[in-house]
């Protein structure tokens, strides 16, 4: 008998209608889902006693047979024996149901066991997987490590290979050298052997010959048969060997050696001098190449610079002629070049500054000077003309006197007297004239001499200036202020008109008067000299000009340097003139 109270079903607590129940039951009983199983398990475990309400949903008193049928169906599908229904009483016999239940329980237990096993298996797998993952990571790391090590080892191997190669090459070269040395040794050995053999052969020959000679009775003496003496090739008589002869021989030998050395030395000296000349030519060429490049107005300045530099270079060249040390000469030429470059740059700067002002000033000056010159010439011509006229008049009067009629006697007497007087006077006048002429000549000679002297003094002055400039360049010092004050003092101290002029135009002078009559002087020295020397005599007119002329030269110097003390210095020097 089946009590509804005692029937326990593995069913879900879902009180659905039959089909739904069945499906839900079947679904649930078939699904191996863990959760459901668990759930179901729990539910079954949890609801053994309290499942009555739930269970009663599936099986009631009405549908027992259906339930039984369904259960049989299910059980059959599971492979268990069904429960037979004793329909007459309408009650189930407990034994098959219990058996069925027991089998189902067994099934369930088995299933649980399987589940358990699966779970353990799952756990194991999970742990295995973890383990494998760990090991995988580890192995990956290891792989990385090994790879790196591998590359490092490759690197090392490569380097070792290189080393091997170099060592092999070295070994090859050493082997080659060894071979070479061996070949040398072998060739030397063959040479030695050859020589030794030769010597041995000679030795044996000697021994044989010695034996032969010892045994040979007949000894052929060495002799010379000559029909008659032959004269010496140079025809001279033979001389005895004496100590004097020996000395003579020695002397001759030394003479030969000496002459050879002398010729060699001469040729070397010639070569040396030629090279020196070439060096000097090169220097000169350098100068000439540099100078023509400048434009016309600045010619005089450049010429002055050129002359300065020539002098400067002239000095070192003289020095080089005396010096024989190569290094000193080299140093000197280098220093010359440097100086020249400095001077050139300086001159260029000054050129650019002064060219504009210089042109204007220069023209005015030139005009003035020319005009004065012209005036002077005119005056002289006038004087000459007057003199000529005078002489002419005299001559005419004389003629008239001679040709005028009068008493023969008295006239003659008078004439005589007059003539005599005239003659005397004429003589006197001629004498005077000649004297004057001589005076004129002398004066002219003096003038020319003075001009020449002036020229010389100017040259000396130039040299001094060059030297001074050199020293200036070599020690450019900030003494400008001190000297400028000195200049102003000196300027004030001198008290003639050009000084005033100077004072009034010191700035102008400093900047301008760069190319002055000096230019003309450089171009036409003689006329300028004469002009200047002539002006030395008339003080009032000429002195100023002279001073200005001097000034110009000195001012140019001042332009060359910022130091103005030169002016005073130079003036002092030139005052005696």
């Amino acid at each position: 008998m089946l009590d509804s109270d005692e029937s326990v079903f593995l069913v879900s607590p879902d009180p659905h209608p039959h089909s739904a129940e069945l499906s839900s039951i079947s679904g649930i009983s078939m699904s191996p889902s863990r959760q459901n199983l668990h759930h179901s398990l729990h539910s079954t475990m949890a609801l053994p006693k309290t499942s009555y309400s739930v269970l009663s949903a599936f099986c009631t008193e009405e549908n027992i047979s259906q339930c039984i049928a369904y259960i049989n169906q299910e059980v059959c599908s599971l492979g268990l024996t069904g429960v037979s229904l004793e329909s007459k009483s309408g009650s189930l016999s407990a034994v098959p149901v219990l058996n069925l239940l027991y089998e189902v329980l067994q099934l369930q237990r088995r299933a649980q066991r399987a589940l358990h096993e699966l779970e353990t298996q799952q756990l194991k797998n999970g742990s295995d997987l973890e383990h494998l993952q760990h090991s995988n990571c580890r192995l990956k790391d290891q792989l990385e490590h090994t790879r790196r090590d591998n590359s490092g080892l490759h690197e090392g191997e490569r380097q070792l290979q290189l080393k091997i190669k170099t060592l092999q090459n070295w070994l090859k070269s050493e082997k080659e050298e060894v071979q070479k040395l061996q070949s040398i040794i072998s060739s030397r050995a063959t040479q030695y052997n050859h020589d030794t053999k030769r010597k041995e052969r000679e030795c044996t020959k000697l021994k044989e010959r010695l034996n032969q000679l010892l045994m040979d009775k007949r000894d052929k003496k060495l002799s010379i048969e000559i029909s008659n003496h032959v004269g010496r090739s140079d025809g001279k008589r033979g001389l005895w060997k004496t100590g004097k002869m020996e000395a003579r021989h020695e002397g001759e030998m030394y003479k030969a050696l000496l002459s050879d050395y002398e010729t060699r030395q001469r040729s070397l000296m010639m070569e040396n001098s030629e090279l020196k000349k070439v060096l000097q030519h090169m220097k000169k060429d350098m100068i000439t190449i540099l100078s023509p490049k400048k434009p016309e107005p600045a010619n005089d300045s450049l010429e002055q610079a050129v002359s300065e530099c020539e002098e400067e270079i002239g000095d070192p060249s003289r020095e080089t002629l005396e010096q024989s040390c190569e290094q000193a000469r080299e140093q000197l030429t280098n220093s010359i070049r440097l100086q020249w470059r400095k001077l050139k740059s300086h001159m260029e700067r000054l050129d650019s500054q002064a060219s504009l002002v210089a042109s204007q000033e220069r023209e005015g000056e030139e005009m003035m000077s020319r005009k004065e010159h012209e005036e002077e010439m005119q005056r002289m011509r006038m004087e000459l003309q007057q003199c000529k006229e005078f002489i002419h008049m005299q001559q005419q009067l004389l003629q008239q006197q001679l040709s005028s009629p009068c008493d023969e006697e008295t006239a003659a007497l008078l004439n005589d007297c007059y003539t005599l007087e005239e003659k005397e006077r004429l003589k006197e006048e001629w004498r005077l004239f000649n004297e004057q002429k001589r005076n004129f000549e002398r004066e002219r000679k003096n003038f020319t001499e003075a001009a020449i002297r002036l020229g010389h003094e100017r040259k000396a002055f130039e040299e001094d200036r060059a030297a001074w400039l050199k020293t200036q360049f070599l020690n450019m010092t900030p003494f400008v202020d001190r000297k400028r004050s000195a200049l102003s003092d000196s300027a004030l101290s001198v008290g003639t008109e050009p000084e005033a002029k100077l004072q009034s135009t010191p700035p102008l002078v400093t900047k301008s008067l760069f190319s002055t009559p000096k230019a003309a002087s450089v171009k036409m020295p003689s006329t300028a000299d004469l002009y200047r020397t002539l002006h030395l005599i008339p003080d009032s007119r000429g002195h100023g000009k002279c001073q200005s002329g001097e000034m110009s030269t000195k001012s140019r110097l001042r332009n060359c340097s910022t130091d103005c003390s030169v002016l005073s210095f130079v003036r002092d020097e030139n005052s005696p003139i």
């Binding site: 000679l213 060495l222 000559i226 010496r232 030998m253 030969a256």
Partner: protein, 384 residues
């Protein structure tokens, strides 16, 4: 070109007199002197033995004939054909014989180089010089004939003696710093003596006339050294040819090398002009106006062979010599400066040129092989 008839000669003894008037040839034991222009026999002398060596005296008045086997030297006079002179070295034997520069003394080197006997034809006097050295070039006279340098070897050391040729007075005797002196040569200006060592050591020493060592030069060590040496006619340069196939030129002021010339097997120098003889067996000639390296293999009477200019780089055939033999046939064996100091001719290797020398004008070079002779005309280029 005209050819004369062919005359007999033996031992290649055929020499023109220094004044150029006569030609002397030896045929066995006869000495035939011909007039040079007409080739008519001017004199005929008979010697006692086949002549091994024949030499004109410097003033062309006497001819020396040496017969080594019998140890005899006979001197003949051209002015007086009846005059005769016979020098007998006796049992001591004769190895070489030569004239002194003044043409009045005969220097005989005895067998085994025991001594050098100086016979005077003026005084019949005899002088002896002991221990001469047997080497490549042991005796040399200065160009002006005043001094003679002789290499000697005593007690395993080399010495050099300088004699005054006037009276054979010993001027200087000094030890030479060579291991084994091979040769010595005076400079043309007679003031410097170049002394070189055996091929086993590259050493060139320069002594002045009074025996002072001026300088020593050594290009390298251990390998075979100097093979030939030549002075330039102005005494400014000294050319040294060595077994390494290079010519080194030293200058007379510092005695240091100023340049060296190589003789490579392949000529690639663009300034070189290579003349190649075109013939059945083409052998290369070569090159540059300042160095010549020529070989000759042309017979005078065969078909004319031309010399063509070959393209650079030109290969010079090189025969590798047997390295196991002594005195191998490599290196510079002949050097000759032209008289005007402009050219240097060198012979390298085993070419068959036996001797080379320049014509005195410096315009042509004469090459002699065993059977042939060749003249090379050098075009003088216009110099600045």
């Amino acid at each position: 070109m005209n050819f004369s008839e062919v005359f007999k000669q033996s031992n290649q003894l055929c020499k023109v007199s220094p004044d150029g008037k006569y030609l002397a040839t030896c045929v066995q034991y006869r000495l035939v002197v011909r007039d040079f222009n007409s080739l008519q026999i001017a004199h005929l002398y008979t010697c006692l033995d086949p002549v091994m060596h024949m030499e004109w005296s410097s003033d062309s008045l006497f001819i020396l004939c040496a017969m080594y086997k019998r140890g005899l030297v006979q001197v003949w006079s051209l002015e007086q054909p009846d005059w005769h002179c016979k020098i007998d070295e006796g049992s001591i034997g004769l190895v070489s014989s030569r004239w002194s520069p003044d043409g009045r003394h005969v220097l005989n080197t005895t067998e085994f180089n025991l001594r050098v006997t100086v016979w005077s034809l003026c005084t019949k006097a005899v002088s002896y010089i002991k221990y001469p050295k047997a080497c490549q070039k042991g005796v040399d006279f200065t160009a002006d004939g005043r001094y003679m340098a002789l290499a000697e070897r005593r007690e395993c050391k080399d010495y050099i003696s300088v004699f005054v040729c006037d009276d054979w007075h010993l001027l200087r005797h000094f030890e030479s710093e060579t291991q084994d002196l091979a040769g010595l040569e005076w400079s043309p200006n007679c003031c410097v003596l170049a002394v070189w060592d055996n091929c086993l050591e590259y050493k060139l020493l320069l002594y002045s006339l009074d025996g002072r060592l001026l300088s020593s030069y050594s290009a390298y060590e251990w390998s075979l050294g100097i093979k030939s040496v030549a002075w330039s006619p102005s005494s400014q340069f000294l050319a040294v040819g060595s077994y390494d196939e290079k010519v080194r030129i030293l200058n007379h002021i510092t005695w240091k090398k100023i340049t060296e010339f190589e003789h490579p097997a392949t000529i690639i120098n663009t300034k070189a002009v290579v003349f190649k003889e075109v013939e059945k067996r083409p052998v290369v000639g070569s090159e540059d106006l300042s160095i010549h390296q020529l070989t000759v293999d042309n017979s005078l009477f065969s078909t004319q062979s031309k010399y063509e200019i070959t393209q650079l780089p030109a290969q010079v055939p090189v025969i590798k010599p047997d390295p196991d033999r002594a005195n191998p046939k490599i290196g510079i064996s002949a050097l000759a400066f032209s008289a005007d100091n402009r050219f240097l001719a060198t012979k390298n290797g085993s070419f068959q040129v036996l001797s080379l020398f320049w014509h005195c004008s410096g315009s042509s070079l004469v090459l002699l092989s065993k059977e042939h002779i060749c003249l090379c005309y050098v075009e003088a280029e216009e110099e600045k």
